[in-house]
Symmetry: C2
Subunit: 372 residues, 2 copies
């Protein structure tokens, strides 16, 4: 029997709602695989931690996180804590830092053809889009030294080669797994890696480009690496998202923005998962934080309206990257697709409101759990 210790941090507002559905799915995985055990520990993070402990994440929780095999994270924040300092989001940053979860993976794809309608883009433009953003997650401007005085404020956008190197290795590993065909099994050889920076303006951008180039030349000569300025990347992602099928490799700030453009492309954040990992995929187990890209959505919290899919797919990523349970991950991903897809296309056509359906959070979660 393999045992995995999972720290579950539901967070605020819709966080606990979507978490409940993901845990149903984890129950099913456990039932179907008697040799796998998932020990779950629950704790507070974000606003709910601020209310109880005065900080968005306690030292104790950080310790529990680093002793776990993985952290399943809901979402944090809300108007109640608009003026809190530190704010609920500092809880996420604290966890990323503690676990040194340096690579943030955000897949962007239209899960099933019948979901093309949800995209603001024309179907023939967006059809077949499938890329994964690999964002450096523990460095750059978001973690550099800060000065905060009334007369001046600054953030140091700083990188050392070591930080770019390890992120480049993750991007390369993801490109091999994803494959040119996008089948997740390396079909067609490694996918193209698009590195985004502002090497024309930023010193940190020139370091990013040089180190990335070196790592790929030296260690992955068979992977196609292309450089793109981050601003024009933003433009082209909207104009022709399929053009970036493969892996987008970028720093913390640009990755933050470019990965949210993905959300714009698919039309809803409700289906987009993310993984923040501390090791190289394919090199064994590593700790990580798995969370939906969407926030805590206070406006729809408690109404059984929120889409649980992003959280459920985050669980699938947890199984894939932290537990190296690839079949189990694929089973969940396939179940989501079947539940989502229209009846005409052989699916169940069960969707929450954000995707144009009328299913509730629980109903969608139940359907996915029973499909798994």
């Amino acid at each position: 029997t393999q045992t995995f210790r999972i720290l579950v941090l539901p967070g605020d507002h819709v966080g606990p709602e979507v978490m409940a559905e993901a845990l149903k799915v984890l129950d099913v995985v456990e039932e179907c695989r008697p040799n796998l055990k998932f020990e779950r520990t629950f704790d507070l993070v974000g606003g709910s931690s601020i209310d109880k402990h005065g900080v968005p994440v306690t030292e104790e929780v950080l310790d529990k996180a680093s002793k776990s095999d993985a952290v399943l994270f809901g979402s944090v924040g809300g108007p109640e804590w608009a003026n809190a300092s530190p704010n609920p989001e500092a809880g996420i940053l604290g966890l990323r830092h503690k676990l040194d979860a340096f690579a943030n993976l955000r897949p962007c794809e239209i899960l099933v053809p019948s979901l093309l309608e949800a995209s603001p883009l024309k179907p023939d433009i967006v059809k077949g889009t499938k890329f994964i953003v690999v964002r450096e997650n523990c460095g750059g401007a978001y973690f550099g030294d800060k000065v905060e005085k009334p007369e001046v404020a600054s953030d140091l956008w700083v990188y050392e080669p070591r930080e770019v190197e390890r992120c480049a290795r993750v991007s390369a590993a993801v490109a091999k797994i994803l494959g040119k065909k996008g089948d997740g099994k390396g079909g067609g050889g490694p996918a193209t890696v698009w590195s985004a920076d502002k090497a024309n303006v930023l010193a940190s951008g020139r370091l990013w480009r040089r180190v990335t180039e070196d790592v790929f030349k030296r260690e992955f000569p068979d992977i196609e690496l292309r450089h793109q300025l981050a601003d024009s990347m933003a433009m082209l992602m909207v104009k022709n998202p399929r053009g970036f099928n493969g892996v987008i490799h970028t720093d913390n700030t640009f990755g933050d923005i470019l990965s949210d453009i993905s959300g714009g492309i698919v039309g809803s954040l409700g289906t987009l998962p993310s993984a923040s990992i501390s090791g190289i995929p394919g090199e064994g187990r590593c700790n990580g934080i798995y969370e939906p890209v969407h926030g805590s959505a206070p406006d729809i919290a408690g109404k059984n309206l929120v889409n649980p899919v992003a959280q459920i797919l985050s669980l699938a990523m947890l199984l894939r990257y932290s537990c190296v349970l690839v079949d189990e991950a694929v089973a969940i991903e396939k179940a989501v697709e079947r539940v989502f897809d229209s009846k005409e296309a052989g699916g169940l056509g069960i969707r929450t409101k954000d995707m144009g359906g009328d299913a509730g959070t629980k109903e969608a979660g139940d359907a996915i759990a029973s499909e798994v």
Copy 2:
């Protein structure tokens, strides 16, 4: 007779081609308005300046720029100078700095209904989109102190209140001119201002938000100001661009990316102008740099293929902001619309290839000049 001194810097590759068309239009303005004189001085910038002088912009050109009433700029760069240091783009940054052209204005709109096809977005999503990005242009990470060593590289993302204040005043002025109706005459009262930052992570972002808030409360209580995190702004701009009709007020880095998303939304950079101004619109003449958003497009240079419209509309912005010649600016904008619009809609249907037409650069320029 009013005389305006214009420094003309065509730059590299397609730069001189589009510049020639804009100057044709300026000739027409001069013919129709005998009391206006535009004294033109020509000089080098970017790669062509590197080739001749070893630097992308000489001190002499910077001096000429600051003694001019406005700078009409083409575009710079190309593979020939990929390894030049400083690079051609440093010429733009040098000019912005010299003129203290602290506010970069980038309008985003679909000029005529029949151009909706060119957008990657569904027509009902993008229809009616009309906003102007006001990007802080002389501060932040792109101008902060740089460290560039093999073992570490950094850029200081720094703001002082003064820099945010003056940019907020430009955003407010633009909101008043644009108007809620987007008619450019303040129709319906001042447009909404959307301020984008990462106040949840960046110290500079918190300063941005606080100072912006203060300026609007104190000086423009009648203008609606909304704050938005820059990442979710990127997502929402794709999902529902009309939702930001009005003014997007943001810092140098986020403005760089968000304004390029505009290019994605309209589907081509070929029609998008920009202005980098050194004063507050509505408070009289001020120096500025006017340039297309697109780059020097080496692949299509010299082939009579490039769309001259972005350069021509940049000239219109020059007349509006640096010369306070509003009627003349409007005349050019209207001429562009008539030339562009389909015959069914009462236009001439003359478009370059990037917009699905078959007109050449010169033909399009001639048509616009004669419409003016």
